[in-house]
Amino acid sequence: MTLILNRRQALAVGAGAIVVLGGTAGPAFAKNDSDDIIKKFTGNATPQQGRVKLDLPEIAENGNTVPMTISVESPMTAQSHVTDVLVVADGNPRAGVATFHFSPASGAAEANTRIRLATSQNIIAVAKMNDGSFFTASKAVKVTIGGCGG
C-alpha cells in the first residue's frame, strides 16, 4: 500500500512538473523564421487551405521522436501532380523540418517520418502542385518533453 501511495505521489509530482513546464513554454509559441521559409517556398504566393492532410498526435509525450504523416489529395498523373511538400515547425530553434519531392512515378503524395519538436507548437505543411498552386494545412501539437536536447 505504501508503495502504491509513493508511486502516486511520484506521479503527482511528475504531473505538476509537466503543468509548470507547459505553463512557461506552451502559450509563448515563440515564432521563428517559419513564415520566411514558407514565403521563399511559395514565392510570396498565399497557399490555399485544403487538400493537404497532416497527421500528428495531439499530444506528444516525447518531443524527440514524433511520428508525422503528410498526404496530399492528387491524382498524381503527368497532367496533375504534387511536386514538393515543405514541412516547418514554428516553435523549434530552426523552423525547417523536411521537404519531400514527388513525381508521377511516386503514385501517391504520401510520406511518413519521425520528427523532433522542442516545445508545443504548430506544424505547417505546404504542398506545391505542378500547375504552380499551393495548398497548406497545419496542426498544433502539445509536447510534454521537448526534443532538441534542450
Binding site: 530552426r94 519531400f100 512515378a105 503514385g107 519538436l117
Partner: protein, 107 residues
C-alpha cells in the same frame, strides 16, 4: 556504416500498383543545437538528403533538416512500372552515403 533496414510491402507487383516502402537507418542526426558538458556546441551531423530510385529513375526524395529524429524513419510509396532494383540512398553532411537495395518484380 550502418546497414539500413528496408521493407517493401510487396516484392511482386502488377504494373501500376502502388508499392509502399518503409526504411529505417541508424544515425545520430546530431542537430547542432546541443551543447556538451563544457558548454561547447556539438557540431551538426545529419543525413540531409534521401533519394529512392527504381531502375535508376527517381521516384521519391526528401531533404532532411535537423528536426528529423535520430535513426530516421521514412515511409513512402511508388508506382510499380518495371522490375528492377529499388535503391535507397541517404547522404550525410560529411558527403558519405548509406545505400540500401531491394528487388521488385513487376508483372
Amino acid at each position: 556504416m550502418a546497414v539500413p533496414r528496408i521493407k517493401l510491402d510487396k516484392k511482386e507487383a502488377k504494373k501500376g500498383d502502388l508499392v509502399e516502402v518503409k526504411a529505417l537507418v541508424a544515425h545520430i542526426m546530431e542537430s547542432g543545437q546541443r551543447k556538451d558538458a563544457s558548454g561547447a556546441v556539438i557540431p551538426r551531423k545529419i543525413l540531409n538528403k534521401f533519394t529512392c530510385t527504381v531502375n535508376g529513375k527517381e521516384v521519391f526524395s526528401a531533404d532532411f533538416e535537423p528536426a528529423v529524429a535520430a535513426n530516421p524513419y521514412i515511409q513512402f510509396k511508388f508506382r510499380a512500372q518495371e522490375s528492377g532494383a529499388v535503391v535507397l540512398t541517404w547522404t550525410d553532411d560529411d558527403g558519405s552515403k548509406i545505400v540500401g537495395e531491394e528487388k521488385i518484380t513487376v508483372s
